[in-house]
Amino acid sequence: MIRRALLAVAGVFLLVLVAMAVAPQLFTTADPLLADVSSRLLPPSADHLFGTDQSGRDVFARVVHGARSSLGVGVSAVIVALVIGTLLGWLIGSAPRPVDAVVMRVIDLALAVPEFLVALVVVALLGPGAGNVAVAVTLAVIPIYVRYARGHTRAIAAEEHVEAARMLGLPALTVSVRHVLPAVMRRLTVLATIGIGSTILAVAGLGFLGLGAGEPAPEWGLMLAGGRNVLARAWWVTLFPGLAITLTVVCASLIGRALRERVEGLR
């Protein structure tokens, strides 16, 4: 019961977030970039729901507009990683053992370096910026998807229904495309839903380090970085973007887990 309600709340929150990303002006008319030095660091009030930051910008407007970059980068990175990772992992998993073993070594290497470090290095290669962060985060998570996809491919290929289909005289590729790929895709999609959270966290982390979208872009990680020096006298500058990140990640993973339970319940 409570779980149901929680899932519903999470779903609604994510929908609101998507709406914020698509049409922020529905939620606020304030300009997220407009600095007004005469109203710096104002606490939350009717005029400024979430208060104002050091530049006198409306924190609420910035949180709302920030949904686009955080969600956009998080979701697009996951989708790209999902598609590339699934196909690659499926190919590797379907390949003969020796090929599989060699390619997996390389994938293992990518996994040996912490995800966040990979993203950092990619940003070092490409330079900071919102687009590069998206690429970095995508590249950082692809190996994980490849690994899972490859594992699932091998596991599913060993399931009896695959052999049963082969024993009908169907070509191996047909069987793999029909029986293995969709199942791998489905399991990874669920994984990806949970994974959105970690990409959003990575994006925020890079933003916090000043490697993401630069000022004055409304990006949640960057907002947290900006607010940390006024922590003692203006809690609202960091609280709201922090909450936004946390709620997004928690809701995404709640929904992802629920999906996973459903999908894996099928097995």
Binding site: A35, V37, Q54, G127, P128, E215, N229
Partner: protein, 521 residues
Amino acid sequence: AGSDAPASGGTGSADGTAPSGELTWAIAGATLSEGHMDPQTSQMDVTAMVQRVVFDSLVFQNADGSFSPWLASAWEVSEDGRSYTFTLRDDVTFTDGEKFDAAAVKANFDRIVAPDTASAQAASMLGGENYAGTTVIDDTTVRVDFHEPYAPFLQAASTPLLGFYSPRVLTESLDKLKAGGPDVTVGTGPYVLSEYTADQEIVYTANPDYAWGPQGQKTPSVQTLRVSLVPEPSVRTGMANSGEAQLVSELPPSSVAELNPDLTVDTKAYPGMPYSLFLNEKYGVFADQKVRQAFELGIDVDSAVESIFDGQFERAWSVLGPTTPMYDAAIEGTWAFDPKKAEALLDEAGWTGRDADGYRTKDGKRLSARWIAWTPIPDDRTALGNAIQSDLKKIGFEVVREALEPGAYNEQYGPKTYDITDWGFSGVDPDYLRSHLATDGFQNASQVSDPAVDALVAKGAETVDPTERAAVYTELQEWNAQHVAIVPLYVPALISASAPSVSGLTFDLYGRPLFYDASID
């Protein structure tokens, strides 16, 4: 002044008691570990600030700008202003036991200008191409020659950037100087660098043999000076309030309000170039002087500086800061915020169209300027940038900001592919305008190229007579106010807070703490 009492060789501080106690001094210092421990090569202010306690200079610059003897007991400038002859004290030793003499001076100066040293700032203060060489006349007499007359030299010689390493380290540990450390960072100063943990702390221990302070001070009374490297300003503020550090420097202006009332706060405006925007007149929209002027008038500098820096910093009017010698106060108020006039200027310049986002256009092109800055950018400058951006948006002028890490910044700075960039520069001698305004100046970010300006900065460097020099720099300051190559924004200050237990702290002209007479109870 000079010292009357010869060094006894024993320990003994200024007031005759043995040095004792420990003073923790928290500074940002993030860059120190990145090869900036060597004042002879680093262009970072922090290097000079902390290493002052290790490196003494030939002369000392007093609060009024005059010079008094230090390691040199006397000096003489030749008629033509090209030769400086110093008479050195003969009782000075480096803390590794080496003797300080004319050869040591020569070894240090030659090292600074050697191409391999790749020194940015110290070499320039030593005249750069203008430096002709140092000659050892005898053990205690040394002469520095220049190709052209070079007036700022005494001032330069008073900074730690032209301080002296023990000749032994110059031969034995040359490649380690940038990284620094005990037995590497060795000078003649009141303190010995005894421990260094990169990114964490530097521990200085009182030099027991010290007897040649700028005012004749001897071994300082604080035994241990522990410099805590804390890049986070909020953490430094916390350390000041909790008493974890007895002295905290580089405090952000916004934190002053949060400091405990019993702390002593010293705000010392940096002399030199205020924090400014450089408008690149050879690249885009700033080729037009009217656009530059409109840009300047469109920014509400007063309210931005006042509120962002909590009233701690002054707004700037001129390319010389108000505490810099030869500052021209007449410029104050001449280009106050005037959006109407700015709009009129832009109209005149032909930027009359408007696009969907409300920005001005001319021939279908948006009035837009790209501002590059190198990371990390402190919060308050970010806020200032936001304010500038918002102000200019109101007159239809778009500013696009890019924060670049130093490598990427260089790639744009080299070929000068930007409209705006920013920095401030601390220097006590207005000669720094030469590198900022001369056609071939390496800091000429605005790409000023005007023979009249070139002649003026050259004259400034050569002229020794103070009034004549002042006239030259007044003219330069007025030139910029008209031409608008550089938009000065605010005068940064070094804000330090010290605990009630600390006394006797003094500050040099750069606002940096000096510990000769400091004590702690």
